[in-house]
Symmetry: C2
Subunit: 444 residues, 2 copies
């Protein structure tokens, strides 16, 4: 069959499609796999118990009603929401955010999407791609605008979302050597503001929005409050929005260990997700933004999906209403991943501490980012070797949307490793990585 | 904020956005509303009882397991599927279709989407829009292809899905006067094959796919087996796929009263939905097609949504496995809507039988399509009058994607009326419509 150019673009093999296919194949495989490659959150029993209890309650909360079929579960699965998303959950989120922050939100500030990826598909096409050229004499002249990623590496899932071409600009990081809990062997990326502020595309009006994930997927970096404040100032100076991918951030799932604060104003587009509290299957993303952005997202929901899926909203609403979502995040989810990070760092140091491996300072999210400086092969090649040995990680070059990685060796020297797996998988996977990497450095 | 051209296109008010906003406002309103405008399916107790029983079972099916947190419900909400969709549900659908049809499907023939609208967003952009011009000397030359709707009117939700422009061609129908259960006052649309086969766009290679809904939303028309067979022949002659929107069709929800059969081959793209069996909130669409189409849809799922939502798959899987989805459709859903259609026809005849109202022969779906021939005002204006009187229907002009409705009076003389409402709402709504329409014809 003949596909359109749109179809041809999206059926090209992409970084994310390869990743997803490998993960899917691994889950179907008969062979044991050390799955350090995926983005699936961990199963945390204390959290799952609350989900299950809530699930059961939603199917029984009509017990005292005159209509035995009026349970919240049936109402949720049996009715469309409007395109903005489940109204009860949006009201619940308005109350929650206004309780914990001074943002003074109304329902016009929140829309739901079918997960964060869906939100970024909308936002990057709303703010990147072809724009009418305001300085031109007629409507047919366009200017091409990009999404500016102030700190590469960034999330792999951003790469392919533009409906036509790719529209990213990225700034390479400062790489600082840092300690972590008093230990050596760590680095931290920092925004190169000098390069950012002198970027011709920014100065010349060819940037449509600035976007970062915080904590960053894949690195576990958390941009500092000062960095965020400077980014916010720059977006206002150039009259473009600041999009923050908060999938791992505050107040839920709150997988963030550094001293950081969350701010919002009407030039900020904050994206939340239910995935990393442990509900990825329900595909529920939350956008907090100015009403005109919410109206645009709602319009896109109507056309692309008719309306967002509702069940995630149903199960999260009671947890948001009584702040349990925050308590679970603070008391269960964050400590779990912090412990996992500590374990993985210890295992990595034991396996490769005497080799030129550096670990990005773990400040949050559910990954470690490893830098194998001067490794004799690219990490794309390392990925293939590890895959053959039953250990899945993600090589770094796919995490540099907007960067010409052929000119940037660092982009071929890192890997992303999930820390959501159980301890035995961490032990087994890191042993395989260690064996392979040591042999490569040793020239064997 | 400045939106891209993509953003400007999708934030224009559209037929579907107006419809969805009005429906949403109506549901929030304090005033009683006769809701005959929406596409929400009816609440059918016998069906909802099965959904609720299944829902509860999914949350308890780990009772005999060693891990009390291994219920299907938790597994579904707590894990991503791969981009093709929930693998267990796809396997279950393969078995179901191969039990009931001679299609010989494998898992490579099925992908899930976040509802049917999401499927059509993908398919119409895969097969409509800019194509590389195979006859040109270089890659930069493109040819613009349209989705051919062989029988207008068609579904309102198709209109706005193209990421750039609108790419539809449509053929106006033959309008035959027919009887229904021996009664006069009915008409039926038939495909004008002479006009279709002589369409320059088709002959000259500017059609990317042919698409129809069967039963048709909005009319309740069911294209005959012979019409479908001719359409299939034409698509093969021009090497384009035949896309069938089967949201109301066989084997579920099977809201179809005429003698019709469902066929599939690898040039056919069949789209199913869980919405009209009563699960619109779970947003689950099913595409049955050749593997290359399934691969393209999976790739789009990865980019647009990461992966489809899973809970609809979880709740439908047991009903598909033991054919209850078919039994519920045959024994509960289809008879319910057939009775609703009979009731609504009777009420309409009582209210306007002496006036130039014609009803499209009700052959399926959850709507009646009324034609007010030579009404002194457009049905857009009628819609506004009825809305002020608390009765919502949908005016006809939005159901003609690909038709220049300024040149086609019939497109302004019809309305779509849902029959999913309870009997009192049908009585009250039809009374309002009757009062207004009679007064208009009477010149009052």
């Amino acid at each position: 069959m003949n596909f359109s150019k749109f179809g041809q673009k999206f059926t090209q093999p992409t970084g994310i499609s390869q990743l997803m296919d490998d993960l899917g194949d691994a889950l179907k495989s008969d062979q044991p796999i050390n799955m350090l490659g995926g983005g699936n959150p961990a199963r945390i029993d204390a959290v799952n118990e609350v989900f299950l209890e809530t699930y059961r309650a939603l199917g029984n909360d009509d017990a005292n009603s005159t209509n035995e079929l009026s349970s919240t579960a049936l109402t949720s699965i049996g009715n469309y929401s409007n395109p903005q998303g489940d109204a009860a959950f949006i009201d619940s989120l308005v109350g929650f955010f206004n309780r914990h922050y001074d943002w003074n939100l109304s329902a016009d500030n929140i829309a739901l999407t079918n997960g964060s990826q869906n939100a970024f598909f909308y936002l990057f096409n709303l703010f990147g791609g072809a724009f009418n050229d305001a300085s031109a004499n007629n409507d047919s002249q366009t200017v091409d605008k990009s999404i500016l990623l102030p700190l590469a590496p960034e999330y792999i899932g951003y790469s392919d979302v533009h409906v036509e071409g790719q529209h990213f600009a990225a700034v390479l990081p400062h790489i600082d050597t840092v300690t972590h809990n008093g230990e050596e062997g760590f680095f931290k990326y920092r925004v190169d503001f000098e390069a950012l502020e002198s970027l011709p595309a920014l100065i010349e009006g060819r940037i449509g929005a600035i976007c970062c994930s915080r904590p960053t997927n894949p690195t576990g970096n958390v941009l500092t409050d000062e960095e965020m404040s400077r980014l916010s100032d720059i977006t206002k100076r150039y009259d473009v929005p600041l999009i923050i991918d908060n999938a791992y951030g505050m107040p839920f799932p709150n997988i963030i260990y550094s001293d950081a604060h969350l701010t919002w104003d009407d030039n900020t587009i904050l994206c939340f997700s239910l995935s990393k509290i442990g509900l990825p299957g329900v595909r529920t993303g939350i956008i907090v933004a100015a009403p005109e952005v919410i109206a645009a997202v709602s319009a896109l929901n109507a056309v692309v999906n008719l309306s967002p899926t509702r069940f995630g909203a149903a199960i999260a609403t009671p947890l948001v209403n009584d702040d349990r979502i925050k308590q679970l995040s603070d008391n269960e989810i964050k400590p779990f991943y912090q412990q996992q990070a500590t374990t993985a760092v210890r295992l990595l140091k034991e396996a490769m501490g005497d080799y030129p491996m550096m670990i990005h300072k773990p400040e949050g999210a559910i990954f470690l980012w490893l830098w194998f400086k001067d490794l004799p092969i690219t990490t794309d090649e390392l990925y293939e070797i590890l895959k053959k040995k039953g250990t899945l990680i993600v090589p770094s070059q796919h995490f540099f949307p907007g960067v010409d990685v052929t000119q940037y060796p660092h982009a071929h020297e890192c890997i992303r490793m999930s820390i959501a797996a159980d301890e035995q998988t961490l032990i087994d996977g890191i042993q395989v990585i260690g064996d392979v990497v040591r042999a490569l450095y040793d020239g064997k």
